[in-house]
Amino acid sequence: MSEERREPEGTRGPAFRRWLGNAAGALVFPLVAILISFAIGALIMLATGNNPITAFGALFRGAFGSPLAVGRTLLNATPLIFTGLAVAVAFRAGLFNIGGEGQFYIGAITAAVVGVSLGSLGVFGMVLALAACVVTGFLWGAIPGFLKAYFGAHEVITTIMLNFVAILLATYLALNPFRSEGLVPGTEAIDLAARIPFIGIGLGRANYGFVFALVAAAVVYLFLWRTKRGFEIRAVGLSPGAASYAGMSIGLNTVLALAIGGAFAALGGGVEILGVYGKMSIPFVSGLGFTGIGVALLGRNHPAGVVLGALLFGGLTAGSQEMQFATDVPLQLANVIGAIILLLVTATKLVELIVGKRARALASGTHLERGLGQ
């Protein structure tokens, strides 16, 4: 920093205040969404004859109350960090990636197949399986990018449609060419030596997949804010016209942003297979890709926010069982609260009712200012 731009010592300069203002501003949308959805959750608890304080207390205990609970939360947050990053990277390029669900499945089937065939290589096999997920996820994610960049097909619709293609493709592969002899429909179990190990230290079944997810978030941060390519992607997202005028390729950056997003979601699927399930059974876990959208928006499409958003959503799932155990509230209420958060997290006018006209300026981390028409 140059001499003349340094703030006088002992005073809070405008830069600091602006930073503080931005940070507080960034929290307004998520906080409004979280508070209202928890309030609605409390009303539902009351309506079912339960004490919200007891129920939320149990929810919190089940999510963060003990090392075992924290382990559960980390385990649930892990895939959501990956699918959240998949949304966030594309969002920074001005694109909505609704395809996380399918990309997650592509990664899962890749890891299941490669993991079985290279399982005898141990840790090396695990690394290769995860690398394979990155490749297949990248290629799969590139399809909607390519269709958008060169054929004008809107990425929201193509990624939605590709979700089902991916799920059906993974289902076909798991049930036909790679089906195991066993009774449970799905692929063979991967050699234990090639699985992602547990973290231990009392965290229960939480595995190093969570650490991989944190590394992935850090990589996304460094890529977007510390590399030329990341700068280009953000520039295309902020102002395609200006980026194009500056000589950046909108097409290439569109393809890359969606492909990189696909790679992260697929890596999440691979980590889930190698860390939790050990094989791909059909039906496979669903909804993690869609929840990733909520995670990303709650985290304002910033990698650090994605991690926090994933911990919130992961904690909701982790604590819901304890809530059901301690009260009569069915654990599915956690899903309802999560859905309401997503419903509210982009509601500009709602936030405007609370913080006034500033809301519109604060909406930049969650809104793409364009329609779907061509």
Partner: protein, 307 residues
Amino acid sequence: MEDFIGALGSLLASTIRNATPLIFAALGGMFSERSGVVNIGLEGLMLIAAFAGVVGASLSGSAVVGLGFGLAAGLVFALIHALMCITFEADQIISGTAINLLALGGTGFLMVLIFGSGGTSPRVSGFKEVAIPLLSEIPLVGPALFSQSLLVYLMYLLVPITWFVVFRTPFGLRLRATGEVPEAVDTAGVSVSRMRYYGVALSGLLAACGGVYLSMGILSAFTENMTTGRGFIALAALIFGRWNPIGAAGAALLFGFGLAVTFQAPQEVIPLEFIQMLPYVLTIVALAGFGGRAIAPAAIGRPYRKE
């Protein structure tokens, strides 16, 4: 030959049954999207209505009351979507996704609360098949087309009615204009917000018919996540049919035929997963512009702000 006619007849009947919920939801989606509001929440609207229909029918013992419950639930969820998208200017894609998750989570929650456990609800009295005299006696097509539940006949009526409403009435003109050039509609003294509320509300009612048909026409019970992507296939039919009621119904029939074939064709020929992929792949192809580009209403997805 008898066997062949019989197989063909049952394939046709199955096509109609599979296409009906898709057509309802696609017609609903058309009203919403023609008004300028993307509705990827069709899946959730169908699901909540399928559930509410079964609740209504199990409380009252009457399928018609069930339909009323389903319509009310679809309408309420659609109005939530409208409130978010139109009044609160939330992102339409996100709101639609949230509607889907809310319906999935909400039905799972209410299943436990109302019926005591998740999975499948108790059986209720659904809509029985009613053979239309004379018409149902036409060889081959008669039993397939005219020995169906009342909701199917409602669908037959709604396709031309929807076309007429959208393309031949002042309301339809305003609706389409709202989705293409909202500024002009505003200048003409018509409220853009109100037109969009109408569009989204209609999408809720129509998608609800599709949902109720699933749980009370095809089956007589609710199963968690029983829509299994049909709302998205309906969205695909809407796009593949170029946001036109007749086109959307045609696309839905094609997709319904695909679904019917998967239940009857021998697996060895084409794996069923690949037939099931067809609607999605065809829609992507249509969007990419092969064989005449599918172009959405111009103002779709953007909140309208008065200047």
